[in-house]
Amino acid sequence: MTRFRLIAAALALALLPFTTPLLAQNGPLRIDITEGVIEPLPFAVPDFISENAPGGEYAQRISRVVAADLAGTGLFREVPQEAFISQITAFTPSVDYASWKAVNAQALITGAVSATADGQLVVKFRVFDVFSDTQLGEGLQFQGTTNSWRRMAHKVADAVYSRITGEGGYFDSRVVFVSETGPKNDRRKRLAIMDYDGANIQYLTNSSSIVLAPRFSPAGERILYTSYETGFPQIYQLDVGSVSRVALPVPADSMTFAPRYAPDGQTVVFSASQGGNTDIYRLRPGGAPERLTNTPSIETGPSYAPDGSQIVFESDRSGTPQLYIMGANGGEPTRISFGAGRYGTPVWSPRGDLIAFTKQNAGRFHIGVMRTDGSEERLLTASFLDEGPTWAPNGRVLMFMRETQGAEGQSALYSVDISGRNLKKVPIDGAASDPAWSPLLK
């Protein structure tokens, strides 16, 4: 008996290794997902609720601007209001998720507007992740004046965009550009400024002389531009608020153009042409222009990196215009563009990761982006004439000038996502060129 028991015990011992794995539950099923879809995310914006009578005038308009901002990015698609099967009647932290799931609205934006008799406006909003039955972030409210209701709508849209995508918005920003009127052989140009979406156009200069290439300061309160009012190109600085301008203290006997601010908002780099040779100069506050390049070739179009440590510019020292990068104090530049064709108008992304440029190759113009070392060049557009890209404040969208062919050809402003998607015309009456995007407004 004892032997039998011992044998049984030994047998049990020997089988132990088998039983332990049985007790251990199998690990979770692991799936690797590397392929998704890229399509606009459907969102719903029911008309904002007006919390008092004066607010009713703006509630519906603000919600429409918010919807237009989001849909205009190409990243979102609005679920038409006719499809709604429930209405928002109160600005509450919870909604009937099921009825919004039913219309496949993945994001829901609700809001409320109130206004006072003296022109004060308060906009509140919430964002919901419908399929997760949760609110994205907390409710927010903005306060302003009724005159700035569009800016407040843009701010709401920026906040929604940021909560869903995880990066900053660009709706509450402005664009300065050259407004053109008249036929090609008698084109009249004026500096104009508008909201990013083409609304609220204001003119900053009269059309008595040709103006070119306006550039915003990093804070957006000043503009550099080139004017021909003295007969040849000279750089001026214009204060946006007072619309007053001053000429930069640069040599009066040289043609100066292509100015751009350094990230500090004080230093300016520009091109100056003397005796047929064009080089890049830097002008620091209170100082005299310093020469950063010194070659017999043409150097122009300087643009600072966002950290101010480097400058990208175009030069034809190799025979054709190509892009180069040099230190902020000059020095030996490094060529970064090596593709076929000519490269020009480089602009460093506000995020610092990309450089946008104009490329001319095989009779066509392209707007493209490349990494700061010249790798991963991508052409985003192609047309008879595309030129002069400028970055949106969040570094995700480019605006540029496109001109159509022929004597009736007109220039217009277009925007495109850096993925190459969502190419669209900025709705402006009349011709426009040389856009420059401002930073996000404060």
């Binding site: 290794p17 199998n26 997902i33 993945q106 991508r378």
Partner: protein, 413 residues
């Protein structure tokens, strides 16, 4: 006496049991993945997924194989990524880069081995003096075995190189020495030959050894006995891809799991009337019992939670999730962030939303990971609302799921 015999009997049984079952136990993790492979091998794409799992069988030591598996996985990923790129018209540029890389890396692997060999040369030197005597007689085999354990890795390699060089040196030393050498050179006897020759060859050998090493790398077959230890890591890397096609080569392991599966249902039906038509529990119990009787049936033990999902079934789940995974609204940073999401599943194939959670992320900030997780969560909830296409009888295999969402292959196409 009784006590003595029972103790010894107990001890022997335990030892035998451990010897038989212990070895099997280590193999346990292997069988389930293999079963999946066998059915799926026909589909090449799925093979890529199974590679990391298959990496286990070749190497005996589980921990090492686990480490290697991840290495293999990245290689497969670049291959899969090219597939999506063709769809994107605009940017063909990034495509060419990923595919070529993985191939060159795998091949160069063997080359580094030779480098290790020269290093080992010095070790054999001490042993030479003692060995001359054993060398001549074939009997020494057991005695040789003892020296090997001290430096098993180093000794085998010198043998090959020396063998060629050795021929000249032996004659001068002593008459007895040459005899063993002659015998050693033609014959495969590895251990005796190296020992004798090494003492003389030492000074001159190092330079020549390097040249010989190259040839050794080319003809690894002869070194079979000693080589396994050194080459193990390298060879293991290759097997990973190959097993996919010739999985049949692993026939011994493969057939075992399959037969038991079909065998169990008939048993339940015939032998035990209590077992109802399709009760999973009964099948599991049956499997356990059979496993207890037959140690060889170890793979069947994995069956408790049902047979593993086939590649086709996994693919169906993958496709059903990714068609809802919309990365269009993700920031570029979130597009570079991989998140792993875990969840529990209900029996109807719907995810239990309350258990959805992000268990890890890599490649981006917390904010980017949160955006990426929210997109993944939306995908799972939206497409899982009607239940994922999962085989109900294998619920045990998918009641817990971890999904890794890696959008890097979709960036800016």
């Amino acid at each position: 006496m009784k006590t003595g015999t029972s103790i010894s009997g107990l001890g022997h049984i335990t030892l035998i049991g451990l010897a038989v079952f212990g070895g099997v136990f280590t193999h346990r993790p292997v069988p389930p993945p293999e079963v999946a492979n066998v059915t799926m091998i026909s589909e090449q794409e799925f093979a890529a997924l199974t590679r990391p799992v298959e990496g286990v069988p070749p190497t005996i030591v589980p921990p090492e194989t686990v480490v290697e598996a991840p290495e293999v996985a990245p290689a497969t990923e670049p291959e899969t990524t090219p597939a999506p790129e063709p769809t994107a018209v605009p940017d063909p540029e990034p495509v060419p880069i990923p595919t070529p890389d993985p191939e060159p890396e795998a091949q160069p692997a063997p080359a580094p081995e030779p480098v290790q060999e020269p290093v080992t040369v010095p070790t054999p030197t001490p042993t030479p003096e003692v060995l001359p005597a054993p060398a001549p007689a074939p009997v020494p085999a057991p005695s040789v075995a003892e020296p090997q354990p001290s430096a098993p890795v180093s000794t085998p390699r010198p043998a090959r190189r020396v063998a060629s060089e050795i021929a000249p040196p032996p004659p001068p030393d002593a008459a007895p020495a040459p005899e063993p050498v002659a015998g050693a050179a033609p014959t495969p006897e590895p251990t005796p030959a190296p020992v004798e020759t090494e003492p003389e060859a030492e000074p001159a050998a190092p330079e020549e050894a390097t040249t010989e090493i190259v040839t050794e790398a080319e003809t690894p077959s002869e070194t079979a006995p000693a080589a396994p230890v050194v080459t193990a890591p390298v060879t293991s890397a290759r097997p990973a891809p190959r097993p996919a096609r010739p999985a049949q080569t692993a026939q011994p392991a493969v057939p075992a799991p399959e037969p038991p599966a079909p065998a169990t249902p008939p048993r339940t039906a015939g032998s035990t009337s209590t077992a109802s038509s399709d009760s999973v529990d009964a099948a599991l119990r049956e499997a356990l019992e059979s496993a207890a009787r037959q140690p060889d049936a170890a793979p069947v033990v994995a069956a408790p939670s049902g047979p593993p999902l086939t590649a086709g079934e996994k693919e169906a789940l993958r496709v059903s999730v990714q068609k809802c995974w919309n990365v269009g609204a993700l920031s570029s940073e979130a597009m570079a962030t991989t998140v792993v999401v875990a969840m529990a599943m209900n029996r109807d194939g719907t995810p239990d939303a309350a258990t959805l959670r992000m268990i890890s992320s890599s490649g981006g900030s917390d904010a980017a990971a949160r955006q990426a997780y929210e997109a993944a969560r939306r995908a799972i909830i939206r497409c899982g609302a009607a239940g994922f296409p999962l085989p109900a009888e294998k619920y045990g295999q998918w009641q817990n799921v971890e999904m890794s969402f890696d959008p890097s292959g979709m960036r800016l196409r």
